[in-house]
């Protein structure tokens, strides 16, 4: 028993160190980021209109470059990321956003991982806890009824 307790303590201590480290590490972030970083962040959420499936931040095409310039100009003029995104949506439609805005039907793809995890955990629990399959010899209720019927029939036949 003491062996197990010792292992437990060792592991618990290790987990504590990791948690503490994570806490310390995440405390150091924050701040606005440079202009370039903010352009990149907004651009990463917009789809490049001419190349297929790349973001404005990543795309090497000239139009994407000009859109990045446009974003930078708007940031300098003091507009917020939401306003800048709205600017593009007004012109290109919601298609230009690489993450579907979370309203209406669009909630479906966002819900899938959450619902999936819940369903998955439920399935896992259900399967792991399932007991006594039929082959173990236990008699289920329906079988019980069947047997009773047959017994009844036998009795009737005398």
């Amino acid at each position: 028993m003491s062996g197990r307790t010792r292992s437990f303590v060792v592991i618990a201590a290790a987990i504590a160190v990791v948690a503490l480290a994570a806490l310390i590490a995440s405390g150091g972030s924050g701040g606005h980021g440079t202009l370039d970083e903010r352009v990149h962040q907004i651009g990463a959420g917009l789809r490049c209109p001419v190349c297929l499936n790349l973001s404005v931040a990543d795309s090497p095409s000239p139009l994407a470059g000009e859109m990045r310039t446009e974003i930078e100009a708007q940031l300098r003029a003091g507009r917020t990321p939401e306003q800048i995104r709205a600017f593009f949506v007004d012109r290109y439609g919601e298609w230009i956003l690489l993450s579907p805005p979370r309203h209406g039907w669009n909630l479906l793809p966002w819900a899938v991982p959450i619902v999936g995890m819940l369903a998955g955990v439920a399935i896992w629990v259900a399967l792991v806890r399932r007991r006594a399959p039929r082959t173990n010899g236990a008699v289920t209720e329906t079988e019980h009824r069947r047997i009773e019927h047959q017994l009844t029939d036998l009795e009737e036949r005398g």
Binding site: E70, R91, G93, T142, R145
Partner: protein, 204 residues
């Protein structure tokens, strides 16, 4: 003994047959149907994607006021300001020398220009992602004569939500965007839209 009421298929006893035989078969089919139903739905969903062009996109700007611009002329000096053209029907055509459909639509644009310029309709070509030399070469080769402007930084193209070329917008006399099309325009489309915009302008 007969008072027992059974409500499950499996409990029904057939003469001489293994108990629950008929019920098992029906239950099988029910399981099968339950499993197959969502799959059929899935297939139908995918089927809706057939016959659609994945690249075609609706326009957001129809009915909205046309974004203003003041762009330098390519074929002459000075600038063209969209505000100056208020009250006229303006056909804004985004094009480039490297774009093959732009060649194909050139005649349609020229014909529309020829037919409607006397009624105050302006055809305006906006160069997209192109060099001045290549653009002017294109003009010289195809011999159009409507005004051309350059779009430095593609700010106007972005303002109009342009995905690629050619894209053509018809702006009504009240300054709103009456129509938009992507790909090479046809003479029919141009005349339809220009006539419609002219009518709308006259009503006011």
């Amino acid at each position: 003994m007969n008072a027992r009421i059974d409500d499950t298929d499996e409990a029904r006893v057939d003469e001489g047959v293994e108990p629950g035989g008929g019920g098992r078969s029906r239950r099988r089919w029910r399981t099968v149907a339950l499993v197959l139903a969502p799959l059929v739905l899935f297939a139908l969903l995918l089927a809706t994607g057939l016959g659609r062009d994945p690249r075609e996109l609706p326009s957001e700007l129809i009915g909205q006021p046309a974004p203003t611009f003041s762009l330098p002329r390519l074929d002459a000096g000075g600038t063209i300001d969209l505000g100056d053209l208020h009250g006229q029907v303006v056909v804004v055509n985004f094009w480039a020398s490297w774009c093959v459909p732009c060649r194909q639509e050139h005649d349609a644009l020229a014909a529309a220009w020829g037919r409607y310029r006397d009624r105050g309709v302006v055809v305006l070509g906006v160069s997209f992602e192109d060099t001045r030399e290549a653009a002017l070469e294109f003009r010289d080769e195809l011999k159009g004569d409507w005004p051309l402007v350059d779009d430095p930084g593609s700010r106007t193209a972005i303002a109009y939500g342009v995905f690629g070329v050619p894209e053509t917008f018809v702006i009504a006399p009240d300054g709103t965007i009456a129509a938009k099309t992507t790909g090479a325009v046809t003479y029919e489309w141009l005349t339809d839209e220009i006539e419609g915009a002219l009518r709308a302008g006259n009503v006011e």
